[in-house]
Symmetry: C2
Subunit: 109 residues, 2 copies
DNA sequence: CCGGATCCCCGCGGATACTG
DNA sequence: CAGTATCCGCGGGGATCCGG
């Protein structure tokens, strides 16, 4: 097996998920955010999905989840130190995606 | 809508597909390859899936597909000029994926 | 040699309602 | 406020067989 050297799939396994990139974008931009703040930033996501995507990112050590034991509940999310290593990856993908959008528009004309 | 500026999903839409990264890796490494050669390099993929993934990559202008009208058939695949713009993206993802593999191993210990 | 056509399974993601 | 619990549709991906 030589082709097991393709580690692109490892990166994909972290990033794939309908809302993960946008969640990471918000956390990178704004630092720490509460659950309800994230929800407000993404009106179309359901609570279930937001919870699920956050849990998966937490499981991979990409984000921190801090629960404040109080009433009403308060939970804050932020990019972990390890998660910050994803920054260049997201940057490159975002940049390529932008040019790709252009490429597709030119294709139509 | 400010968050429509997240173009990471555009890149993902091209790369997501169980066999796409590995297919691209082979084509980047070896240049032009026939269908049967790709199949041989990926013993576990079915013909149907190989065909499908290649068609999708072709649809996005990432790869070239050249058919030689002869018997027996001969079809060659290669990275398109536009597809080469993906190189840095794949590089960064591959690199991050490698360190991530390490990260997971340390986690177990 | 290079596919297309069919059938099937499974997990992602959405809708909705309920709780401490 | 920040989640569970349940139900369900859809599409990705595999197995298998057929065709030029």
């Amino acid at each position: 097996m030589e082709t097991e050297l393709c580690k692109v799939d490892e990166a994909l396994s972290i990033l794939v998920g309908k809302w993960k990139p946008i969640i990471l974008l918000h956390l990178f931009n704004r630092g720490t955010l509460r659950f309800s703040e994230l929800k407000r930033l993404m009106p179309d996501i359901t609570q279930k999905m937001l919870t699920k995507q956050l849990r998966e990112l937490e499981e991979e050590d990409i984000i921190n989840r801090v629960v404040y034991p109080q009433v009403p509940p308060k939970v804050e999310y932020s990019i972990s130190d390890y998660g910050r290593s994803l920054q260049p990856v997201l940057d490159v993908m975002h940049e390529w995606g932008s040019t790709h959008t252009q490429h597709m528009q030119e294709k139509k004309s």
